[in-house]
């Protein structure tokens, strides 16, 4: 807008001929800009807005892959709320989220505090801890699937050597141990990102504030708890939401590492949508579950906004 007005004002000061020329130029530039934006606008409309609308629309239908689809109103939604498989998936996803989030937060904070000084060795260690972030979640899952295999996997071997597990045990046979292996993989793969975010938060805290507290005789823990953590609250909220949103959308790690087992106890919400939509081909029901997932994530985003706004007021 400002470009437009600026050049208009400018053109008022020059002769009429020049003015119409500038105006025509602006007009031509605007048309060019609109044409330039067309491919992006078209892609987002066709492959994002249309399917988004279709998700809501399909959720009111019984929609098999083959054959006629039929309007059933809110039946998919009422079925979802009484579907033990979906409720189980929802419970499991929450369980996973509640476990992995504090792990990531604490480890990420620890790493950030450790490598926070910007000297060369710190920067070297930072880039080591961040490296697994560049690796795909799927390939990391295949790697750790092997690491945790009975007898031949190094992680299994290490745990056996430490006396944590017996020589016949299978880490993927139990719900709890499967979940722990997945958590270890996820922590390794994504904690670098949490560290990075917290580092950028820590760097925004003025050194003087902390030094002043130290001079006033505050202990390390007091400084951490009463100064660093409150000043870091916006970043902590961001890291929290990142981890929560990521965990609520978990799929790859459970599909690859546990296949949802043992006895379907590690099926996440996205996994359950996948099974309904693409294994059983109940596309309408899958769409309804997708809408519910969007609602859950919207609530998480709203809570994030609230958390961030609250810190602004303080």
């Amino acid at each position: 807008m400002s470009t437009h007005t600026a050049s208009l004002n400018q053109s008022r000061q020059v002769s009429g001929r020049r003015r119409s020329r500038t105006f025509g130029l602006n007009r031509r530039r605007q048309i060019l800009g609109a044409l330039f934006t067309l491919p992006t606008a078209a892609m987002i409309t066709i492959f994002f807005l249309v399917p988004l609308g279709m998700t809501f629309w399909m959720s009111f239908y019984r929609w098999p892959l083959l054959g006629q689809h039929k309007w059933i109103g809110l039946e998919n939604y009422s079925a979802a709320l009484n579907d033990p498989n979906f409720i189980q998936a929802l419970k499991f996803t929450l369980e996973y989220t509640v476990i992995i989030t504090p792990i990531l937060l604490v480890l990420g904070f620890g790493l950030a505090a450790l490598v926070q000084r910007g000297d060369t060795p710190s920067r070297f260690f930072q880039s080591v801890y961040f490296m697994p972030v560049a690796i795909g979640l799927a390939s990391a899952s295949f790697l750790w699937l092997f690491m945790a295999q009975s007898q031949i996997g190094p992680l299994w071997d290490l745990m056996h050597w430490l006396g944590l597990i017996g020589s016949k045990s299978n880490l993927f046979a139990g719900h709890w141990s499967s979940l722990m292996v997945v958590n270890a993989m996820v922590a390794w793969k994504v904690v670098g990102l949490q560290m990075l975010l917290l580092l950028s938060g820590l760097q925004s805290i003025p050194v003087e504030v902390i030094e002043a507290a130290r001079v006033d005789g505050a202990s390390g823990w007091q400084r951490l708890w009463h100064i660093t953590v409150p000043l870091l609250r916006p970043t902590l909220a961001l890291v929290l939401v990142f981890s929560v949103a990521g965990s609520l959308l978990a799929f790859d790690q459970f599909y690859i590492m546990t296949s949802g087992g043992p006895s379907n106890s590690t099926i996440s919400v996205v996994y359950s949508i996948y099974r309904y939509s693409f294994i059983q081909f109940k596309l309408g029901y899958g769409a309804a579950l997708s809408v519910l997932l969007m609602v859950i994530l919207a609530i998480v985003s709203a809570v994030q906004m609230l958390l961030l706004r609250n810190t602004d007021h303080n």
Partner: protein, 282 residues
Amino acid sequence: MISDIRRSLPRAAWWTLNVALTVLFLSPLVVMLSMAFKSSGDQGHIPPTLLPQHPTWHNFVKLTSVQGLNIFHNLLNSVMVSVSATLLVVLFASMAGYGIARTKFPGAGIVFFVALASFMIPFQAILTPLYMLLKNMGLNDSLVGLTLVYVTFNLPFALFIMRNAFASVPQALEEAARIDGCGTIRAIVQIMLPIVKPGLITASLMTFFNTWNEFFAALILVTSQEKFTLPVTLTMVASGSFGQIDWGSLQAGVALTIIPCIVVYLLLQRYYVSGMLSGALK
């Protein structure tokens, strides 16, 4: 905090802790490489050995025939999809970024707002209708369809980066070029592109990593094995034959998937880190 840890932690302890953590963080990659080069005799060793006793390429050779599939062909699929998606995303996002930041045509704000709002919707939630849509367009089970989907899901972030990059180019620079008789297109290519280069690198890097590593959409939208991308192909290696999983070949396949990421990360770390940060803080 800055000096706290260093102060309360003796230097030797700081080094020990970091070196131990470095070993911990790198060990899965050592395990992967070691397993990828182990002979079948080495693989059966209980407890597992750290390094291969008789290093061999055999596991990689075996990847040329996994259930009648040559995985290097799938590697090529991955390269084609990621490279073309990256090129298209960067081209479209630069054009739109310029249009939105520089020409302020009516409706520019709406396009940018919709793109930003799409960050709120996880793509996993719209994959069911997307599958139907591609089927109706005749683009199901096709790498072209998958590429178009990847382009769309990476466009909003790239657009965000490129719009900001173009917006920060001084107005005077573009006008000076025009007064010197530069056409609009020439002014963009010769004057502005060099300035927005960091944005271009960040946008292409993020798109490349996202598409190279993407698993969920690739698993659903492509159904013929010879069209699988690399991560999905690994599920076939991991499913094994005759109830026996070839762990050496699986790790060789994992290495093929991971090593390009590590190499690109080490080369362009600065841009990757800034991309991840602006992605999170957008």
